[in-house]
């Protein structure tokens, strides 16, 4: 009986093509849809990750705060004493700019100065944790005594802190 039906179906192929084509079309649509879903999900998670990194970087930058305890110039050395009074650890000093405070003319730029503790021991991890104090010496630096200068500290996270002093 079944064999008879199959034979009949094979002889009359009009209906077979419609079923197969519908199955193939539906399968293709489902496959493509899943591919699109996964691709879109991958793209959106990549976007989320980038956005998250950007926001976290901004948050970390906001939490940074350096206080200048004292800036002392003597014999071509400028000593800058800092306190990390922010709410985040690992504040590094990336770049230090010295410029005239009267007209903003740049005097000198220093990169990654060596951070030391107040007892003159070098800070091992070269960063200031929350509440930690430290200093760095900029040398050689020729400043005119009695003239007002500004020092700008740029941290590794990109925050900037300014202080004006008279050499």
């Amino acid at each position: 009986m079944n064999l008879k039906k199959v034979r009949k179906l094979l002889h009359e192929r009009c209906a077979i093509s419609a079923v197969i084509s519908n199955v193939i079309l539906a399968g293709a649509v489902i496959t493509v849809s899943f591919v699109v879903l996964f691709w879109a999900q991958y793209r959106s998670s990549a976007y989320n990750e980038q956005y998250s990194e950007a926001v976290n970087a901004d948050i970390a930058k906001l939490k940074e705060r350096l206080a200048f305890e004292y800036v002392f110039y003597d014999k071509a050395n400028l000593t800058v004493y800092l306190l990390n009074c922010g709410t985040i650890d690992n504040v590094t000093v990336q770049t230090v700019y010295i410029y005239f405070s009267s007209n903003g003319t740049l005097v000198k730029v220093f990169s990654s100065p060596t951070l030391k503790q107040f007892n003159d021991a070098q800070i091992a991890d070269q960063d200031l944790d929350e509440g930690e104090e430290g200093y760095f010496v900029l040398s050689p630096l020729s400043l005119e005594t009695g003239v007002s200068y500004s020092v700008r500290v740029i941290t590794g996270r990109g925050s900037k802190f300014d202080y004006t002093f008279i050499a």
């Binding site: 649509v29 849809s33 305890e69 009074c85 005594t145 009695g146």
Partner: protein, 314 residues
Amino acid sequence: MRKLIVNAKGFSSVIGTTFMVLVMLILASSVFLWTLSQNTEYFQTVKEKNQLEVDRLNERLSAENVTYTGSGGKISIEIDVRNACPLFVNLTTLWVFDANVGNYGINDTLNIGLKPGETLSLRGSKAINVIINGSDASHIFNSWFITARGNAIPLKENIIVAQVAQGIGSIAMDLKQFRYYIVQNNNDGTDIGTPYYSFTLDGNKYTLLCVTLVNLDPSHQTINLTKYSYIWAVTPFAETLKSDTWAIRKVVNNKLASFDFQILEYGKPTTVYFGATQASRSQGNVVPLFILLFGKIGNADYGQNIPFIAIHVT
């Protein structure tokens, strides 16, 4: 629906559309929720930072009645500290600058906590010790505390100094630091050489007078001296007025330079130069010197005359 089941030609389109809508819904909602959480975190941080800034600005501390004792480089500082703000204040470091030797000392092991309204008298065994090479208690000091919030709290002189400042003027002079230089001429760029700590000077030579001034203004305002500041000498017993004047001057890198202005920050001993002048009119006399200081304190005019020393002009 029945038509769709009977004729399945549009079925794939329905599936496709359903998937598309699902994809859009899933993606949009996940991105929206994620962004919302990130923004919430960011604004929370901004809020915390603003609160910290407000706390930092509201930090009020008075450090008064300071006395310096000791010698041989070991200086002991006695002081009364009062927390005048509604916040807990933690003192982390004490800085002491000795203006006479141009050196400073630090004590960064304080960790003194002050509750709102609390007063601490750091005297006797509680006095704070600082090591400054070559320092002595008779020197001029400029000191300040650093709080955990990053504020610098200057140590105020005792009440007598404040009253003197109110009575005779905000600028004080250190008599021991008076010195003069003999220079070749009065031109910019002339090297000033080494100082003479003496009250006898040669009236035939150009002399540059040097004094150390301290701004003790009770309201802690900065004083900006203008070019109308002088030192002048007047000869006694002369039938007509004979005077010599030394105009305020700048010295940059030990060389004479043109004067623009001179800022005197509160509590900071500042070296101020006058001259160079040949005191020929005062020759042969012992003459009194006066410092005429004129400028601005804050936005207001400021003028003060300090009669300070006598010199013998030969």
